[in-house]
């Protein structure tokens, strides 16, 4: 996609979890080796679509995430392409040891899809919210970590994950996500997408915050601030080249994510910036706290994850840049 200077019109789209479930089912039709493991949340993760069509390749694991991860590892060792799915907080946190010792360490070809990530699951509250999954998954050597922003990128990256030989984590959300990309957009694992050109500051975002970054850039343009917007859909391996270029060309970077700032995308970007072209940075994310029950919109507003917060961070960065 050619970077645009025109205003984006963001239309409502599918939740990324639903785009995952639909793409997974299509993959199941194309590839007999695709199998699915679920822990009593298939209606929520949309793996129920796959289960309905391919019951013999769908393994109900019950509410036992640790076992489920290792079952997936064994299926992968047996030549299958297992997509293992649950709420991100349960799959990653309860299955972390199994992800470490039975998946990452031997490097097996397992695909883990964590849905209901971030705080935008809303009313269910913090016990169900995954705000540390990116940090945890990036700490596992060999894992590819993906965080699609909309249904188009999710569909493409689920296919990319299936084609990749090795462990992959895909982060999905519960709420409907604005459509950012045209249907024919091409995505390459490890390559960021520059959505909007800009010269004064770069907003690097992932997941739901990509749409907020676009809204922020639109508003800033009206004030005469030229903000570049970059979608980092691959958290690991990071697109170091795109980050270094942003640091060099705009000399100010704001990173926005629906994740704890500790261990999130921002600190990973900061490492690249420090190693390549140090510049002013600001961070939009969850600051050392757990959220609460409320509507997704109320929570994103309260915990500082909307375009207003991105704009404020840009202003701070520009003030420091001088």
């Amino acid at each position: 996609m050619t970077p645009s200077k025109t205003r984006f019109e963001l239309k409502s789209g599918l939740a990324t979890r639903e785009a995952f479930g639909r793409t997974l089912t299509a993959l199941g039709r194309e590839n007999q080796d695709v199998v699915v493991c679920d822990a009593d949340l298939s209606k929520s993760t949309f793996t129920s679509l796959f289960a309905k069509e391919f019951p013999e390749r769908f393994f109900s694991c019950g509410i036992a995430e640790a076992n489920m991860i290792s079952i997936g590892a064994g299926l992968a060792a047996g030549g299958k392409i297992p997509f293992v799915s649950s709420f991100s907080c349960f799959a990653v946190n309860k299955g972390f040891e199994q992800l470490r010792v039975t998946v990452a360490y031997p490097g097996v070809n397992l695909k883990l899809v964590g849905t209901h990530s971030g705080i935008s699951i809303g009313e269910d509250g913090p016990s169900q919210m995954s705000i540390e999954d990116l940090g945890l998954m990036c700490s596992l050597p060999g894992f590819v970590v993906l965080s699609p922003a909309d249904e188009v990128s999710m569909a493409a990256l689920v296919r990319a994950a299936a084609a990749h030989v090795g462990p992959v984590f895909i982060r999905a959300g519960r709420m409907k996500a604005p459509v950012i990309y045209p249907r024919d957009q091409v995505f390459t694992v490890g390559h960021a997408v520059e959505l909007i050109e800009g010269t004064d500051v770069t907003i690097i975002a992932t997941g739901l915050l990509v749409a907020e970054a676009i809204r922020a850039a639109d508003a800033l343009e009206a004030e005469g601030v030229s903000a570049r917007v970059v979608d980092i859909h691959t958290i690991k391996p990071l697109d170091r080249e795109a980050i270094a270029r942003a640091a060099q060309e705009t000399a100010a970077i704001v990173v926005a994510e629906e994740h704890l700032i500790d261990g999130g995308l921002g600190v990973r970007v900061a490492q690249v910036v420090a190693e390549t072209c140090p510049c002013v940075m600001e961070f939009v994310g969850i600051r050392n706290t757990y959220a609460e029950s409320a509507s997704p919109e109320q929570l994103l507003d309260k915990y500082g994850l909307v375009s207003r917060d991105v704009i404020a961070a840009v202003r701070r960065a520009l003030a420091r840049k001088g």
């Binding site: 079952i71 590892a73 060792a77 199994q98």
Partner: protein, 273 residues
């Protein structure tokens, strides 16, 4: 490798393996002799009699799989692999040393013939069940054997796997518990009692057998019985003696995770004739 159904032949291999286990752990100056020695007859019977595998073709898709879920007993598995011809026998005494393929716990990165990297207790049965399901989907006759420690089954994931195996009718897997009654800190009964073990597996829906794990014909009969059981997985509770074959190691918690001194190695080899 030469396979045999002859119990005396398997006993002779077992004796050789015991000597190698003591020597390699002695040379390494650290490791877990007790739980390696308790598992010898079971692994010998699997690798030299029961399992369908081919050291000349370790990636044969239809091979039977063995997972040592109690990964700290790596020496007994390494001796089997070397004796079968998967790995070099003359490197067994590099155990636990820099650059050795014989890592402290089984590591597939160094020995591709290993079916799983283990060492963190509780995970092996789940991995084995995944392999068993894959074999079933592939229409493969491959069977999966997983050895668990009696202390290991204190891990909750083992029982998640037990529920899963029975629910999914995985009749191509056998879980073998090396019930040697000792774990690192002492006797199992004093750390976290697991008795009645066979009753637990039965309650979870497994076809369950209880045997003397050093009685080779009994091990052979149990594995044949497991192969005949349809519609449910088999658990073999194998009563064994920790440190079996070396008088001063037998039933001695010290030798769960302590290497024998050079003098103890010599004394042990005297007994293992």
């Amino acid at each position: 490798m030469t396979s045999t159904h002859n119990a005396a032949g398997l006993a002779a291999i077992s004796m050789r393996i015991r000597r190698e286990i003591v020597e390699m752990i002695g040379e390494a100056k650290s490791g877990h002799p007790g739980g390696s020695l308790s598992a010898v007859e079971i692994l010998t019977t699997l690798f030299f009699d029961v399992m369908r595998h081919d050291p000349n073709n370790p990636a044969w898709p239809e091979r039977d799989r063995f997972i040592l879920s109690k990964g700290h007993a790596a020496p007994v598995l390494y001796c089997m692999l070397a004796q079968c011809g998967y790995t070099p026998k003359d490197q067994l005494n590099t155990l636990r040393k820099l650059g050795s393929i014989y890592q402290g716990h089984p590591d597939r990165r160094f020995i591709p013939a290993l079916e799983a990297s283990t060492g963190s207790l509780g995970v092996g049965l789940s991995v084995g069940l995944g392999m068993a399901l894959a074999a079933r989907l592939n229409g493969s006759p491959a069977r999966v054997y997983v050895m668990l420690g009696d202390g290991e089954i204190q891990e909750g994931q083992v029982w998640e796997a037990a529920m899963f195996g029975a629910y999914h009718k995985a009749d191509n897997i056998v879980a073998i518990v090396d019930y040697n009654k000792i774990q690192l800190d002492g006797f199992v009964k004093d750390i976290m009692e697991v008795h009645p073990l066979a009753d637990k597996w039965r309650a979870f829906g497994w076809h369950t057998l209880e045997i003397d794990g050093h009685d080779i014909p009994a091990v052979q009969r149990a594995l044949a019985d497991a192969a005949a059981a349809k519609g449910r997985p088999t658990a073999i509770v194998a009563h064994t003696i920790k440190g079996k074959g070396v008088s001063f190691m037998e039933n001695n918690p010290k030798f769960h995770g302590t290497a024998p001194s050079p003098a103890e190695v010599q004394a042990a080899l005297q007994e293992l004739q």
